[in-house]
C-alpha cells in the first residue's frame, strides 16, 4: 500500500495547487415575445426537461388569521384545472410521468415541472392550466385541508419542528416571520375558497416571477412556451406590506418535552445575499458550521466529545431579516455543555480566530465543489431560478468562483466580527435539559 500511496498524495497536492477552473456552463437569458424572462441551460444529453419558477411573496401575503394559506394554495394547484377535475388532472400527470408540484415559504411561492421530452407539450399545457385556471373544487379543498391538519398534528410534538417554530415566534413577535407558514389547525380550518382565489390573484403576477429551465429544450423552443404558461397572468399586483425587522435574541428558551434527547435551534442576525460582504459571510459560515466534518461545531461537539450526531449552521436569507442559524441535538445531560461550545465557537469567530489556512481550505472546497452542483437538470433549474431571484446576472456561474477567491483574510476577520455575537444568540431547547435555566 505505501508504495502507491506516496505517489497519489503528491498528485493530490499538485492538483490542489492548480484548482480546476469551473467549466462555465453556457446559461442563456431567454425573453419571450410577451416579455417573460427565463434563464436556460440547454443540455440535451438526457431526454428530460426541468423547469423551476418562483413568485416573490409567499407567506408575506398572509395575516395571522390566514396563516397556512400560501401552502394550502400550493397543494391545490395540481388538484384540477380547466375542464379537468382532480382525478382527470392527476391521471394525466401520473400516466405521462409528468411531475408538477408547488410549494410556498415565508418569502415566495414556487413551482417545479419535470417532464420527459416526449411529453413536453402536455406538460406545458398542464402547467399553464394549473397556474391560470385552477378549479379549487370542494372535494380537493376539504381533502387537502384534512391532510394539512393531519400534518400539523403529526408535527405538534416533534422536537425539531417545535424548536424551529419557537425560535421564529420568539425572535419575531408581531411579525409575519414569527408565524409558521404551515399555519395552525385553527387558521387552516378557516381557509375558504374565496381566500384561495384572492391569494392567487395577488401572488401569481408576472412582475414577481422568476424562471429557470435546464435540459432538452433550446432557447428558440422555450420562448413561446414561456408566453403560453405565464403570459396569461396579470402583469402586476399589490405588494405585500412587510417591514424589515431585527430578531430578538440573547436568551435561552426551554420548551419542556419528555424526550431522551434535547433538540436545540439557535441563531442571530446574518448578512443579506445582496450585501457586498455576503461571500465573506458564506466562508465564515463554512468554517464554523457549514462544512460538515471540517466545521468547528462538528469537530468540537461531535468529533472531540461525542456529544451529538449532528451540529451545523447556515445562512438563512429571509428577505426582510437575514439570519445565521444552526442546530444541535444532544442527550439531556449534555445540552448545557453543547450550548457553551456553540457560544465559545461564535465568540472565537467574532474575535478573529481565523487563520489563512482556514480561509484557503474553505475557498478550495467551495470553488472545487461547485461543478458538482451542475450534474442534474433538476439541480440546475433550481440554481438558475435562485440566480434570477437574487439578481446575480446570467453569467453568474462563470463569475461565482472568482467572488469566493476574492475574499481576503482581512475581509473575513472584519465580516466575522460584524456578523458573530455570542451575546445576541437566541437558543431554543426542546427536551428535558439538565443544568439549564428556562
Amino acid at each position: 500500500m505505501r508504495k502507491f500511496w506516496q505517489g497519489a498524495l503528491m498528485s493530490g497536492a499538485m492538483a490542489l495547487a492548480v484548482a480546476a477552473p469551473v467549466e462555465a456552463a453556457k446559461v442563456e437569458r431567454v425573453v419571450s415575445p410577451g416579455g417573460v424572462e427565463a434563464f436556460l441551460l440547454h443540455e440535451p444529453s438526457v431526454p428530460l426537461i426541468a423547469m423551476s419558477f418562483y413568485f416573490k411573496g409567499g407567506a408575506q401575503f398572509e395575516t395571522a388569521a390566514t396563516a397556512g394559506l400560501a401552502r394550502m394554495t400550493a397543494a391545490l394547484l395540481d388538484e384540477g384545472a380547466g375542464d379537468k377535475d382532480s382525478l382527470a388532472f392527476r391521471t394525466e400527470l401520473e400516466d405521462n410521468a409528468i411531475r408538477l408540484g408547488f410549494d410556498a415559504n415565508r418569502d415566495g411561492f414556487s413551482g417545479d415541472l419535470r417532464t420527459l421530452s416526449a411529453n413536453r407539450e402536455l406538460a406545458f399545457e398542464l402547467a399553464r392550466l394549473a397556474l391560470n385556471e385552477p378549479r379549487f373544487d370542494a372535494e380537493p379543498i376539504e381533502r387537502i385541508r384534512a391532510q394539512s391538519i393531519a400534518m400539523l398534528r403529526r408535527r405538534e410534538n416533534d422536537p425539531n419542528t417545535l424548536a424551529r417554530e419557537h425560535f421564529f415566534r420568539t425572535a419575531f413577535p408581531e411579525h409575519t416571520y414569527g408565524i409558521s407558514e404551515r399555519g395552525t389547525i385553527e387558521t387552516v380550518s378557516g381557509i375558504e375558497r374565496d381566500d384561495l382565489v384572492a391569494f392567487i390573484q395577488k401572488q401569481l403576477v408576472r412582475d414577481r416571477l422568476h424562471v429557470g429551465v435546464a435540459g432538452d429544450i433550446t432557447a428558440a423552443e422555450l420562448a413561446p412556451v414561456l408566453d403560453r404558461i405565464f403570459g396569461g397572468l396579470p402583469a402586476t399586483g399589490p405588494a405585500p406590506e412587510v417591514a424589515a425587522i431585527t430578531p430578538l435574541g440573547g436568551d435561552v428558551l426551554v420548551v419542556p418535552q419528555a424526550v431522551p434527547q434535547s433538540v436545540v435551534f439557535f441563531g442571530h442576525p446574518g448578512i443579506a445575499r445582496q450585501d457586498p460582504d455576503y461571500y465573506a459571510a458564506y466562508i465564515a459560515n463554512y468554517i464554523i458550521g457549514g462544512g460538515g466534518f471540517q466545521s468547528r461545531l462538528l469537530q468540537e461537539i461531535r468529533e472531540k466529545r461525542g456529544l451529538a450526531y449532528s451540529a451545523h449552521s447556515f445562512l438563512l436569507e429571509a428577505e426582510h431579516s437575514p439570519l445565521w442559524v444552526g442546530g444541535v441535538a444532544t442527550n439531556n445531560a449534555d445540552v448545557a455543555e453543547s450550548i457553551r461550545l456553540v457560544r465559545e465557537q461564535v465568540a472565537g469567530m467574532a474575535a478573529g480566530e481565523i487563520s489563512a489556512e482556514d480561509l484557503a481550505g474553505a475557498q478550495t472546497f467551495l470553488t472545487g465543489s461547485f461543478p458538482l452542483r451542475l450534474t442534474s437538470n433538476a439541480q440546475v433549474a433550481s440554481l438558475l431560478v435562485g440566480m434570477s431571484v437574487a439578481d446575480l446576472g446570467v453569467d453568474f456561474l462563470e463569475r461565482r468562483n472568482a467572488y469566493i477567491e476574492a475574499v481576503t483574510l482581512d475581509d473575513l476577520h472584519r465580516v466575522a466580527a460584524r456578523m458573530f455575537d455570542p451575546d445576541a444568540l437566541l437558543f431554543v431547547v426542546v427536551g428535558q435539559p439538565q443544568g439549564l435555566e428556562g
Binding site: F4, W5, R143, A150, R153, D158, P159, P260, A329, G368
Partner: protein, 454 residues
Amino acid sequence: MTLRSLFLATALGGAALAMPALAPTAKAQMFEPETFTLDNGMEVVVVTNRRAPVVSHWVWYRVGSADSPPGKSGLPHFVEHLMFKGTENLAPGEFSRTVARNGGTENAMTSNDFTAYFQNIAKDRLELVMTMEADRMANLRLTDAEVYPERDVVLEERRSRVDNDPGARLSEQINAALFLNHPYGNPVIGWYHEIESYSRADAEAFHAYWYHPTNAILIVVGDVDGAEVRTLAEATYGQIPGGTLRPRQRLVEPPPQVARRLVLEDARVSQPSLSRAYLAPSQRQAGWEKAHALDLFAEILGGGSTSRLYRELVVEKGLAASAGAFYRGTSYDETAFRLFAMPRQGVALEDLEAAMDAVLQEALDGGVTELEVERAKRRMVAEAVYARDSLSGAARIIGSALTAGLSVDDIELWPERVEAMTVEAVNTAARAVLRPERSVTGWLQAPTREGETG
C-alpha cells in the same frame, strides 16, 4: 403534491441510514454500464456520463447490518463510522479533510445488506480518492481515543433517529415482529444496549473479516470510461490481496403462522397512523417475474394519487389523510410489502383499517385489471428515465441491486421485463403474498387509558 410526498417520505424512512430511502429497483433505467473484475476478485462497474468534469466514486461492501455478530446488532454501521478514523497513512479525520480540500463531497451509508462509501469530486481527483478508499479498506488503524467517543455519537444518532420519534419506534417494533428468526428483525442502527457493548476489538475483527476486494464492488459514474477506471483500479484496489468471498450466514425465517398486531401508545402522538407489513420474497429469492409482479401490484394498489387506496380511502370515503403501498424487491433475503394510512380527524383506526382491508380484499378477489396493469407499466417505465438525471442515483441503484444478489442485467432489462408482465402474473403473486398470517399490523396512537405514557 407536497403534502402527499412528505407523508410517503416519512413512511419510507429507515430503509438505510445516512440517506433518504433508496430508489426501488422499479426506478432503474438502462445505464449501459461497463463491467469487469480485477485479478483479486473486486467487481467494477463504470457508467460514463460526460455532462460535467466530475465523478461519483463508490465502494460497496457485501455486508450489512443483518451480518452483525450475535449480540452486536448494528456493528456494521459502527464500523462505517470508524472508517473515517484513520489508517496507517492518514490521521483521524484526514480522509474527510483531504476530500474537502480537493473540492469533494463524501458520505457513507449502511443498510441491512450493504455498507457503502462515496465521494463526488472533480475527475482529476479520482485517483486520489481511490487511493484513500483502498487505504482504509486495507490499513484501518483504530485507537480507544477514537472508538469510544464515536460509540457515544452512534447512541446520539439512535436517539435522533428512533428514540425521539414515536413513528420510528413503531417501525422498529413492526420489523422486530415481522421477522421471527432472521436478523432483519434487528434495527440497522442496532439496539441501544448492544451499541453500548461494542468494543474496539469487535470493530477490528469485523473489519478484518469483511473488508476485502473480493467482498467489495467499485462503482464509478461520471466523466470517465472503463479503460481509465481499470488503470486506476489496478494501481490502487488491485494492489490489495483478494481475500475470500464471505458467505452470508444468516438465520432462516420460518413460514409465518399467525397475524400479529401491535399498538404503540405515546403521549406525544396527536396524529394516529396505521402501518402493515407482509413478509414478501425478494427478487433474488423469487426471481424477477414475481418481484416485478409485486412492484406493479403495489403501484396499482397504493402508488400515487390515482391508486386504489388513495382514491377509495382519501378521496371517495374521506376517511384518510393519506394512504398507500410499496414493495422493495431489492433485498438479499425476505423483504416486506407494506401498506400505510393516516386517518382524518375523528376517524377511528379500527374503521380505517377495516376500509383498507376492504380495498385490499377487493383487489385480491377481483384482481387488478388489464387496463390498470398497462397504465402502471407505462408510468413506471417512463419514471425510470429520471434515474439518469443524476450521477449518484445511478450508482445507488446499481450498488443496492448488486449487494442484494442481483446482476447488472437485472437493472438493464428492467424496462423490457416490466413491459412483459401479465395481469395474471400480477394477481397470482399478490394472492400468494398478501395473506393475513404473513402480516404485522401496527397502530400508533395516544394513550387510551389514564396514567399511561409512552
